[in-house]
Amino acid sequence: MSTATAARGAHAPALPDWIEHAAAAAAGPAWLQERRRAGLAAFAAAGFPTRRDEAWKYTDLKLVTRRSFGAGIAAAPELPAIEGLDCPSLVFVNGRLAASHGVPQAVGVQPLAAAIAADDPACRELLATIADPARHRFAALSTALFADGVLVDLPAGTVLEQPLRLVFLAAAGDTPVLECPRVLIRAGANSRATVIEHYGAGTGESLSLAVTEVAAGPGAMIEHYRLQESAPEAFHLGVLAARLERDSTLVSHNLSVGGRIARLDLDAALAEPGAHVTMNGLYVVRERQHADSHSRVDHAVPRTSSDQLYRGVLSGKSRAVFNGKAVVHPGAAGTDAQQSNANLLLSPDAEIDTKPELEIYADDVKCSHGATTGQLDANALFYLRSRGVDESTARSLLTFAFADVVLARMPLAPLRRHAEQLVVGRLPDADRIREFT
């Protein structure tokens, strides 16, 4: 048993040694240590989820709990190229800052560890206050363990002309590595920014506890991209939690194609009138991959809106989970909540569990939700073949067209093209369908 456990006292349930070690190494000022302890206690009380936990019913973490995860190896940060995208970037390897490209001092972007060391008020005010530790035990664990990350603190009226790109890479040696990418975005009144979180391929087995918290002030507009293309052995457990004030907007684009098990919990609290969230998501899984998308939107007050479009493409023996919940709280009149989830099953062995949920406790609301699961349209397939396109290419083409409905919503062209190529690359006859895109 590690010394950290002994020091914490006998009443806390035992945690794996690798967690105790990481917790012991996590530093910070007193206020942070307090939050770290609370996070660790929350995680210890909840433990690793099992299939008996409703929120984890279809996502089995046995593969994670059987392993232990360490600090990883030193590796040169290699910025994954995105053609045509040249913007300020920060690169993290195993959760620690490894490189910074063209990030100007003045824009309110800095490494989280440095901001905490400088006692930045935004950190103290907001860090670990937006992602609900009771619902997100891995966010609680991240709070206990994270080493570094990014603070984006936009003063009122700031407009970031260029996107900001945050790249997170895991580099494992012989043993699996733990990384805790942590991002805090405080968007002041009427500020605007585009933030890209790019979870790159990395190497080897890793566990990523990736937590992003967003506090959007009145009239702020955040366009958020999340590209998850981790290594095939990776475990990715992400949380994106946002709190939106009056007339602010969060547009989230979430592409999940990597990892052995990948999950994102996406929460948006629409806390003041006029707040809006768009959630565009696409998961493409094959072989034995598992992707889990959980989302929750709280329409807490009158006149807020949400629009969720999630699609999935499953092949091989892959499995995906979609659970989207919209809660319209008492008195939240004028709520507009739209949600749809559509899935394409390309193999008889693939499996999807989809559950759109609407809880409405208010009158005068406009809500719709729906989920579909199906195969490729036989008429469209025949039409393409009758024009000389071979069957396999025609299938890939229709699959791509299905997925592209989500990607087409990305306004940032280089990123959209990169995302499209990621998807194309996962389909049979990639070269031939590239001619169509």
């Binding site: 393409l384 024009r387 000389g388 067209a401």
Partner: protein, 251 residues
């Protein structure tokens, strides 16, 4: 060009074609007429290789080879073209890219070089002029949001670009007003040639005023019950199909 003998075909549990014979020589235009539900689209679908149709008996020979042995895409590359009665909307697949892929598939199969982007565009623009189609058609999804008439024009545009040896037009006239009908017919007529054959499926004789057939066949209950020249279409226009349905039973 095309020789159909004793063709029987079914969809699901239902027998639709019940012993159909048809000979189409090079350069000939054959009209297939018949009441709704007589099996016209089934015949067209069998020729193009629609997978949900099952041929239970008979043979189809196309330019000396067993057509039924080929996949739909192989048939297309061998020069068979079906203009669909109900062209399919495929959002997300670009109209012009499909056209290019289709043309290059045919050319590659013939051992010809693929057209470069410039040559291709010149060809498409030329054919679009023939079909009186605006540039906006190019960059839309395949048939996406097209009106009924636009879809039919798009079918004939594809045909004009691909230059098939055997074109099967399934009710290309339905849903067209008279002006659109003339445009479509003009497109089809411009493709008539001594080595291109056409099977024109229609419910009404109106189309045949513009696309003048060499032969007219009447399909009823899965078989051809009457064959004649152009005048047969006019007779059908006057008398309807009922007298032939009776004839089919008597025969």
């Amino acid at each position: 060009m095309l020789s159909i003998k004793n063709l029987h075909a079914r969809a699901g549990e239902r027998d639709i074609l019940k012993g159909l014979d048809l000979e189409v020589g090079p350069g000939e235009v054959h009209a297939i007429m018949g009441p709704n539900g007589s099996g016209k689209s089934t015949l067209a679908g069998v020729l193009a290789g629609r997978p949900d149709l099952e041929v239970t008996e008979g043979t189809v020979t196309y330019r000396g080879q067993d057509l039924l042995d080929l996949d739909p895409e192989e048939r297309a590359r061998e020069g068979v073209f079906l203009a669909f009665q109900y062209p399919v909307e495929i959002p997300g697949v670009n109209n012009v890219y499909l056209l290019k892929a289709a043309l290059n598939a045919v050319r590659k199969h013939r051992g010809e070089s693929e057209l470069d982007a410039f040559e291709f565009l010149a060809l498409v623009k030329d054919r679009m002029k023939l079909m009186q189609m605006g540039d906006s058609f190019l960059n839309r999804g395949v048939n996406e949001g097209f009106s009924g008439g636009e879809k039919k024009r798009n079918e004939i545009l594809q045909m004009a670009v691909l230059e098939p040896a055997l074109a099967v037009l399934d009710e290309t006239d339905s849903g067209l007003d008279i002006d659109a009908l003339k445009v479509v017919a003009n497109g089809v007529n411009s493709l008539r040639s001594p080595d291109r054959s056409m099977v024109v499926v229609t419910h009404y004789q109106r189309l045949l005023d513009y696309i003048v057939p060499d032969f007219v066949h009447v399909l009823s209950d899965g078989r051809i019950v009457r064959t004649g020249g152009r005048e047969l279409a006019l007779e059908l226009e006057e008398r309807g199909y009922d007298w032939l349905r009776g004839g089919a039973n008597a025969a």
